[in-house]
Symmetry: C2
Subunit: 346 residues, 2 copies
């Protein structure tokens, strides 16, 4: 059994601490990865602190993993030692499922999370990316284009695909007006990816404090949602609104910014349900939808797209022992725009 | 000025009473119609009683109009005296609008309702179908196929198109599982139209009291939503759910019945906003949308489709002086499935 070193949450209220554990022995179809960088996603904090009520301890968070292949099983054909690879939010899916849909595996019931889950055997816990190595089935390993730096590429595995998938699914591209609500770890990726697809991007952020960044990353316009005039000015403007915030906002106000047949897509999860007026949807055949990460196939498409367009995340690199401090800063939105842990500091 | 006889609401609380009024003098592009039948839509009651707060009195309700052409203006090319025609929910649209979209005119800001509205001049009130004649611009008059009886065809002009449009827009057809929520004036049209399109139709109704009718009209299966087992049995089943009820129901429970990428479309308007959980949408890329009637082009397509498939509404014909009693019965859902006023009783 390969021994891994990482950081783990041992309960809902304590800081993360060093943790040594066994990875499973690699099978014929497994890839062994030396993790170089691991991004910090807000959902790591939710789960480390049991805010979704389903936490398994000890928990090694991390599902924005970038590293280098150190070993491959006998049946592995897509990867070789030395390849730059990534692992995202899940490491297996629907192994028993008759209706398995490989284009939508992220929505299938048998999804196995990269951490805070159990392997298909139902008993072996999965441990995530805040560690120095991981063993993953070939089919769930992504190839990271060589021209992308591994540190800034790590957040593509969750933040990147979370925005890429709905932009593609709802046909963002030339001639389409797209609003990105929230200019954080997710939102800034939406600006970069949407602009690279040729869409006309507007950022809707609480304040104008990140306006300069937003325009530099590719947004055409940038509005403060704290200004009531914004909702008058932009009424009926957008084909697509991607909502990355999980704060309690009035979705009806945002729905009024859609054109006829426009769609608003939720990517963040507010704690409480949000009241929706039927008229907000009926009066323009508008859509309120949700989207969650993307399939393995789509994640690879996204990484290839990012390789062609030189797109990575804007990051702040930290050492492993700064993770608890970084969590506090994420909660205060004090990061531009994603923390990435340098695993060489492990 | 042609004189018309009808029934009007004179304020929000009195019953409808006989009312004689002038129709506008026909222009070159107008069609004069002798109204033979007028359906009763629940929204007639909402508006007669000022429940949407925008009522103009005296009000002659009625936007499910079927009749015969008695006169055409000099420039009218599509209709001649004696033709069977219909008028639906609007009689003009966006006359000043630069972005006028003829495929979606029902969602354009300049829509002029068949009643409880003003003509493009902003001062002449429009009066609806509870009357013996109407003058309508050729472009807003629909042709009713000769094989359809005028009485049972009248409700196609609102109830029919309200279901046809979302069934078409969300691609109901062979291989698609479609649920119709509510088995009333709207719902029963959804069953007939959806089945004729080749979709696999399920009715979700509060009770099983109309099950026999539902199956006869084309539904494959019929479930009572008062039975909690229904939501377990049907979890993840449908490509499309059309919700015709305006009662306060838990949309999240219905959203859980959708497949991945499924859509639930609201056609009825509950009084209060409904709380929606983001997870109900995100966990399967599900859509909550709204739809409102259809364009003139689409309404004509619907009537032609109904002509080919011999589809009309299930109706109960009443005399004009029974309208107030009929309103009370609509409010108690005591009608199978649409009241139609016989204008010969005027």
């Amino acid at each position: 059994m390969p021994i891994a070193k990482g950081y783990a949450a041992t309960d809902a209220s304590s800081p993360l601490t060093p943790f040594t554990f066994e990875r499973r022995a690699p099978n014929d179809d497994d890839v062994v990865i030396s993790i170089k960088y691991s991004g910090i996603c807000h959902s790591d904090i939710h789960q480390a602190r049991n805010e979704w009520g389903n936490s398994i301890y000890p928990m090694v968070p991390g599902h924005e993993i970038a590293g280098v292949v150190t070993e491959v099983g006998a049946k592995v054909t897509k990867f070789k030692v030395g390849d730059h690879v990534g692992v995202g939010c899940f490491v297996d899916s629907c192994t028993q499922c008759a209706t398995r849909d490989l284009d939508n595996e992220q929505y299938m019931p048998g999804l196995i999370g990269t951490y805070n889950a159990y392997e298909a055997d139902g008993t072996t816990p999965t441990y995530g990316g805040y560690s120095d190595s991981i063993v993953v089935k070939e089919g769930y390993v992504l190839s990271i284009p060589e021209n992308l730096p591994l540190d800034a590429a790590a957040p593509l595995l969750c933040a990147g695909i979370t925005l890429y998938s709905p932009l593609k699914h709802w046909n963002a591209g030339p001639g389409k007006k797209v609003a990105i609500v929230g200019m954080g770890g997710l939102g800034h990726m939406g600006v970069k990816l949407g602009a690279a697809m040729g869409a006309d991007i507007t950022v809707l952020s609480q304040s104008l404090s990140k306006k300069e960044d937003g325009l530099k990353l590719g947004a055409k316009t940038y509005y403060a949602t704290s200004d009531a005039e914004t909702f008058k000015t932009l009424a009926g403007s957008f084909d697509l609104i991607l909502c990355t915030v999980s704060a309690d906002i009035d979705w009806n106000a945002y729905l009024s910014l859609l054109k006829v047949d426009g769609a608003m897509v939720l990517l963040g999860v507010p704690e409480k349900p949000v009241p929706v007026h039927a008229f907000s949807l009926i009066g323009g055949r508008r859509t309120l939808a949700g989207s969650m990460i993307g399939s393995i196939k789509e994640t690879q498409d996204m990484l290839d797209f990012c390789g062609r367009h030189d797109i990575v995340s804007e990051i702040e690199t930290i050492s492993m022992d700064q993770v608890n401090e970084a969590y506090e800063r994420v909660l205060k939105s004090d990061v531009r725009y994603r923390f990435v842990i340098d695993m060489a500091t492990m």
